[in-house]
Amino acid sequence: MIAALARSANLVLLAPAGRDAGDDAALVARAREGDPSGFDEIVRRHHKRVYTLACRMLHHPEEAEDVTQEAFLNAYQRLPQLREAESVGAWICRIASNLCLDRLRSPRRHTEVPMPAPELAPADPATADEGTAETVERIRAAMAELPPKYRLAVVAYYLRGHTYEEAARLIGVNVRTFKTHLYRARQRLIAMLEDPTQTREEPP
């Protein structure tokens, strides 16, 4: 119930409403015409969501900043190719998702550093007893052990209370594949909760 309420609250507060989508299209048009303030406003509006996605994927604040910068600059260069200007935020998230996957799959990548306290905030003490709060912490930490593509499905779904369809679109996979990844991710998280000694395994 709490989760459902939180998700619907996120939907109301954070998902781009029709007016925002229209504003985004206008900002893209301004940026395409060479008005620097258009792209600046796109950055202001969406950088927090993109950074959050990168943080939850990489569990490394500095890498998450790099990916956020790279995603926006990449988007800026490719702005003339964007077809759905009203979805510019989702498009930049998709670019960031791919950058995160590239980094996670890179053999040169160093070990993940756990996020500092503010990014892995504790469960709301008003809604959770001590045992539940600890389990919530374990679930959030276990995310780092999921294989990249399953982790991405979870991150996209819970990023801003997306529906399955929106989240699948956000990361550029079809809904069926997305649901499969999310289902497997949840099964792995349950297995990790039941047996914390489980280590990460790449999916077949």
Binding site: A6, N10, V43, R49, F72, L73, P118, R186, I190
Partner: protein
Amino acid sequence: MRCPKVRAKLQALLDGALPATDEARLRDHLTACEPCRGHLDSLRLIDEALSTQPEAEPRPELAPAIMARARAQRGRRRPLVPVWLEGWTLASVALGLAACGLAVSRFLPAAGLPDELAAQASGLLPVALAAAFGLFGMWYYRP
């Protein structure tokens, strides 16, 4: 209903996405099966833990740094080609140019060029036009 089948549908139950008949059968099973109830509790906890995560707070310098880098890039690339001229449109234009080149080359002998030169040109002209356009496209959409 067996446990594996029930567990595959528990998330849909939490999402409120099950038909009423399925939901009733699932609830009957859950009343009698403790392990499946535990599985449902775990799914509920996962949902709660992940949907109540606060957004990460970037350093205040991040957004201005992105804007500054974008401004530095500005001017390096001018919109030489309209937005609609990209991807498949670009490929179609390249093919169209090749076809035009082929058509023009057929009139080269009539234009007074020696036969040998006209024969060479008829083969090369379409390819050269398409290649030039392709190279322009690659340059324009360089990473």
